[in-house]
Every structure is written in structure tokens, then in C-alpha cells.
């Protein structure tokens, strides 16, 4: 009797203690495991701990996130989802439709996210009007990188149209330099393809084709022109490009073997790591055409049980969009902050250009999601498009046939 009374009293004491002071807890599933990325996550982990939270790290490397998604699927099916998961683009909404995401609108409204995030990026973080994810950074995809010395030696300016690019490439070929450093992997083919598409179709055409999947645009003459340009560019890569990793292609630009590379701003990290200075050793510019293709990493918040975990989730969301984390993380990662009111004093000239272009594009409606990096479309649709792009680039398929296949593949992917 005495024992039960004691047990009852102590359990009440414990209960009240825990309900007054929730210990924020978060289990975070991500695949940022390589050098700079791991450092960037450690920043978040540190801030979370400083605010009294307990962080359980769940890094799952491999397959560009495929392995992490497999782990996530198993956890969700077992009814034990992690607090936050590195997810991006329409995949967030896809998981929301499975009914497993949490609502973090209270945090988002208290922190005024709607005022500091560009509208089109904020839309990715919402599920049916409520906030369900927190953005970490903005990578720009439509960059063209160049080796300063090679351009000077051949008397070439950064191209501002695809015709100029082609002319420059011909000149470089004649001089014995590889014009375009490229790695023949499907996603890299798609990255170049979307940069070309943005330049030729324009911002509206790009949105119609790769966000709305409008059939008329997908089969238009402009789209044939996009594939024609891809065929031309196939002639500008070295014969040994197949299967090459993107960072090896970046190295080719760095050591003057090749002149240009079309790649997102993670390539900048490679240049910087090799001690190169933007503007001096290498140049960055947007690919020919108007617009800005973004690739935004974010954390989606999953439905969790328990006060501690909910408190952890709210704290995590608040910190991720917080100014200090946005600045430190993006300095490490080479991207720019998703929120527009962060001071950019510490950032390099390429990042400043990226930020200015993002503002301008956001104002004139040409701030667009990258299709090649899973921001614009769901996996099945973007995969179907990539299949056609990479098959065309790596064979002698005609542009007209590619366009026909494109329309069929998209129609088939629902």
C-alpha cells in the first residue's frame, strides 16, 4: 500500500515536471554526409543543442538520397517517422498526400516566414495552405562557369546568347581546347538541357513545359530547337565524357583543359576548395537567357507524437529559417540564404550575383523551379523527361523524334 502510494505520488511529480518543461527532441534524417555538407549540418546541430534540444542524427548516405528515402519509407510504414527529413520540391506534397506530414504554421506565422521568403519558394513549403516544411538554402542551377585564362587566351567573352556560346565553342575547338566540360550522367544531361530550355523557351515557355507539362509547348518548334542546341553541344564535349562525375568536369575547367561548365552553384564549392578566386581564376554567369532556376533544400516536418518531439520540431523549424543559421550554413554550402533579409557581407561575388538575380526574377515572375533537380515535377514525370533527354544526347536520335518521345513519355508517366 505504502509502495503504491509512493509510486503514485512520484509518477504525478514526474508527469507534471515533464509537462511544464518539454525537452525539445528531434530526430533528423538527411544525406548531407560529405565534407562541406556535414559541416553545414553540424552548425544546425550545435544551434539546436545551444537551445536546450536533444538532436538524434540519422544520416543515410548513398544514391543521392535514394537510400535515405528507402529508410524513410520503412520508418513511415512502421508508424515511427523521424521528426524532420531532408526533402525538397513536390516530394513534400507527395508525402503530404500520404497523410504523414505535420502542420508547423504556428511557427511560420510567429516568425513571419511569408514576409522574408520569395513567394514561389514559400509555395513549396506549404501543403494545402498550411506550412509543412522549412527551407534551408537556394542553389541556382543555371550557371555557366568558365576558366578566365582560357577565355583571355582565346579572346572570348562570357556568352550572352546560345549563338554566341556556339561561336565561342567553335573557336575553342579550333584552338584545341575542350569547349564544354560535361559528365555524361543522366542528371547532368538534364541540368544542361534545362539551362538550354530556359534560354530558348523563355521563362513562360519553361513554366508551361516543365511545371504545367503543357503538351503544346512540349511538342512546339521551340522545343525542337532546344534539342537541336543539345545536339550541337554534344559536339562540344570531349569523347570521354560518359559517366564522368560532375566534380571531375569542374576540375577540367579549373586546370584549363576545358573552358566552360554548365552546373549548379555547388560547382563553386569545388573552385573555392582548390583555392581559386571568383572573378580572377574563374568566372560565373547565368546561362544565356532570362530567368533563375532554383533548387531549394528543405526539411519536411513529419507527424510525431509526444510533447518533447513536437517542441523539438517547432524549435528546429524556427532555427532553420533563423538568420544566423541561414547565413552560416550557406557560407559553408556555397548556396545563398532562402530568406531575403540576411546580410550578405560575408558572401562572394557569385553569391551576390545569385541573390540579386533571385530578387529581380522574383519580381518579374521568372523565378522558376529546376526540373532536373526535382523541384518542378514529381519523380515519375521528371524521370520520364530525363530518360528522353539523356537518350537523345547519347545517341543520334533526331530532335523531332525526341520531341515525340517526350510528349509520349510525359503522358505515360501519371
Amino acid at each position: 500500500m505504502k509502495m503504491t502510494a509512493f509510486a503514485a505520488v512520484s509518477s504525478i511529480a514526474l508527469f507534471s515536471a515533464s509537462s511544464v518543461l518539454a525537452n525539445p527532441e528531434a530526430e533528423v534524417l538527411h544525406w548531407w554526409t560529405s565534407g562541406g555538407e556535414a559541416k553545414s549540418v553540424a552548425v544546425l546541430q550545435q544551434e539546436f543543442a545551444d537551445n536546450g534540444g536533444t538532436w538524434t542524427d540519422m544520416p543515410v548516405a548513398g544514391g543521392g538520397g535514394d537510400a535515405a528515402m528507402t529508410a524513410l519509407r520503412a520508418r513511415v510504414l512502421a508508424g515511427n517517422a523521424p521528426t524532420a527529413v531532408q526533402l525538397k520540391g513536390p516530394a513534400i506534397q507527395e508525402w503530404y498526400e500520404e497523410g504523414v506530414l505535420a502542420d508547423i504554421s504556428s511557427v511560420a506565422e510567429a516568425e513571419g516566414w511569408a514576409d522574408v521568403l520569395p513567394a514561389s519558394i514559400a509555395d513549396h513549403m506549404k501543403c494545402d495552405g498550411t506550412w509543412c516544411a522549412a527551407p534551408v538554402n537556394v542553389h541556382r542551377v543555371d550557371w555557366i562557369w568558365a576558366n578566365t585564362d582560357v577565355l583571355e587566351a582565346n579572346d572570348i567573352e562570357m556568352p550572352t546568347s546560345w549563338d554566341e556560346f556556339n561561336a565561342a565553342a567553335e573557336k575553342l575547338m579550333a584552338a584545341g581546347v575542350i569547349p564544354l566540360a560535361h559528365g555524361g550522367q543522366a542528371w547532368q544531361d538534364a541540368t544542361v538541357f534545362e539551362a538550354v530550355a530556359l534560354g530558348i523557351l523563355g521563362a513562360d515557355g519553361f513554366r508551361k513545359a516543365f511545371v504545367e507539362l503543357d503538351e503544346a509547348t512540349l511538342t512546339s518548334d521551340e522545343m525542337i530547337a532546344v534539342f537541336d542546341q543539345m545536339r550541337t553541344m554534344r559536339g562540344f564535349v570531349d569523347p570521354n565524357f560518359s559517366g564522368r562525375d560532375w566534380n571531375l568536369a569542374t576540375a577540367m575547367v579549373m586546370n584549363g583543359e576545358a573552358a566552360f561548365q554548365i552546373m549548379g552553384d555547388w560547382a563553386k564549392g569545388e573552385f573555392m576548395a582548390a583555392g581559386k578566386v571568383p572573378g580572377e581564376d574563374f568566372l560565373c554567369a547565368s546561362t544565356p537567357g532570362d530567368g533563375f532556376l532554383y533548387n531549394v533544400d528543405s526539411f519536411a516536418m513529419f507527424d510525431v507524437d509526444g510533447e518533447d518531439k513536437k517542441a523539438g520540431q517547432d524549435l528546429l523549424a524556427k532555427l532553420i529559417v533563423g538568420e544566423s543559421f541561414q547565413e552560416v550554413f550557406n557560407l559553408n554550402k556555397g548556396s545563398i540564404p532562402a530568406r531575403t533579409d540576411v546580410s550578405l557581407d560575408a558572401f562572394d561575388s557569385c553569391a551576390l550575383l545569385s541573390s540579386a538575380d533571385m530578387q529581380a526574377s522574383s519580381d518579374n515572375g521568372s523565378l522558376l523551379p529546376s526540373y532536373a533537380h526535382g523541384m518542378a515535377l514529381r519523380g515519375a514525370q521528371s524521370g520520364a523527361i530525363t530518360d528522353v533527354v539523356t537518350a537523345h544526347f547519347n545517341s543520334d536520335m533526331s530532335s523531332a523524334e525526341a520531341v515525340a518521345q517526350l510528349a509520349q513519355a510525359v503522358a505515360n508517366s501519371y
Partner: protein
Amino acid sequence: MSEWLENHLPKIVLAPSFIGVLVFVYGFIAWTAWVSLTRSKLLPRYEIKGFVQYEKLFDSPRWDTAMNNLFIFGTLFIVIAMVLGLLLAIMLDQKIRTEGVIRTIYLYPMALSMIVTGTAWKWILNPGLGIEATVRGWGYENFSFDWVVNPDYAIYTIVLAAVWQSSGFVMALFLAGLRSVDGEIIKAAQVDGIPTWRIYSAIIIPSMAPIFLSAFIVLAHLAIKIFDLVIALTGGGPGYATDLPATYMYAMAFSRGDIGQAASSAMIMMLVVFTIVVPYLYSELRSKNDG
């Protein structure tokens, strides 16, 4: 009690593995068949929607490529590995002195994982690093061997690496078969003055028919489930020129979040395996009954 136990012991001992096989093999085959009839995307859903996934599958040019590649790869791999294995085995069977050493050397590739084989051959075949660069370095500037980056020929590089990996194993199988042929018959044939090549073609090889069947089954299932070698050697590229059914299924299930499509491709792969294995099982079981 002890009598009951005696009668039922085999069943009791076998029950756990029987249940295991029932659930984890046949149960999951049934589950995959079910899911292949739904519109499952990220997570499995269970409302049956008919054969829509199969229609999509057969409309997909990428799946076409994958099945063609399986046909090319399977045929060439099985035929070349068997012929090469048989030739090696016959040559080793000539009572040469260093047989032990040579046998070990030929068998060793089998000890490597497919990932290692694939990576090594990727470098050997890479035009900028491997054979082509070496021969050009010797002064033959026009020499070209770029199969691995040529979409029309890349599938043959996978055959090359797979044959290199497996023919030693086939040789060991055949060598055991050659040794099991009754020496008396061979001696009798030699006494009759029959040439060696006829002894092999008319006596030894026909009496090894069961070994051929085993070798075929082992190679055929290796061919159908080949995955790691493709991933390491070409990554399915250039483009998707070296995609095989297994890599297609992996891409759909794990990269694209299209479980329904992956399940339907898995079912087709299983049917392909059945068309090869069922005749084999049939012939095996029938001969047992006859015996």
C-alpha cells in the same frame, strides 16, 4: 508419444523453414503481384486498377531497351562463358603439370565481387585511361576502342566483364564433369584408334549433358539478376543504353517513387526466370519419377 514424434519429426523440423519460404518468397511474390495492379507511388496502395502499370511498361522505350539488353547480354554471356569454360576445361584436362596453379588463377575472378570487376573494367575500357590510351601511347594514333562510351556497343562491355568473371567457374564445373567420365570407355576408344577430338565430341561431351544443364541454370540466373556489374561498369549509361530489367526496377522503386511500375517490371522479370526454370524443374522431376 515417441512413435508420434518419430513419424512427425521431419515435418516439425522442416516447418519453420517451410513457413519462412511460404511467407518470404511466395507471400511477397503475391504481394508484388497485387501492388503491380495498383497505382502505388511513394507508398504501396491497395486499390486494384487493372493492368495500367503493364501497359505503361510496354509503352516505355526504356523498358524496351532493358529487355533487348537482357536478351543480348543473356545470350552472349551464357554462350561465350560456356564455350570458353569448356575449352579451358579440355585444355586443363590434358594432364599438364601445373594444373593446380592454372586452375586457381582461372577460378580467382569468381572470388571478386561484381562491383570490383565492374570498377576495374571501367578503368581498363575507359578511352582516356585504359586500353585505348595505352595503345595510342605506343604510337598507334588511330587505334580506337571506345565501346564503353558508345551507346551501341556499351552492352558488349558488360558481356566482356561478366564472361571474364564467370568463365573460370564454368571451367571448374566442366573439369569436374570431364573427370567423372569413365576412364575405361576413353581407353577403349583410344585402343580403337579414334582421334582425340572425336573422343571429346562423340563420347565425353554427350555424357556431360547434366553438367551443361547445371552450368546453364547457374549462368542464366546470374544473367537475369545482373545489377551490380552494370551499376559499377556503366551506371546504365551512356544515356540508358545499358539499362537492364533489374536496374530499371531499382530506378523506379527507389529513385522515382513509382512502386507500381517497379512491381510490374519485377513481375515480368519473374516470368522470364520462370520460362527458363520451369522446363528445367519439369525435366528434373520427371526423370526422378522415371528412375
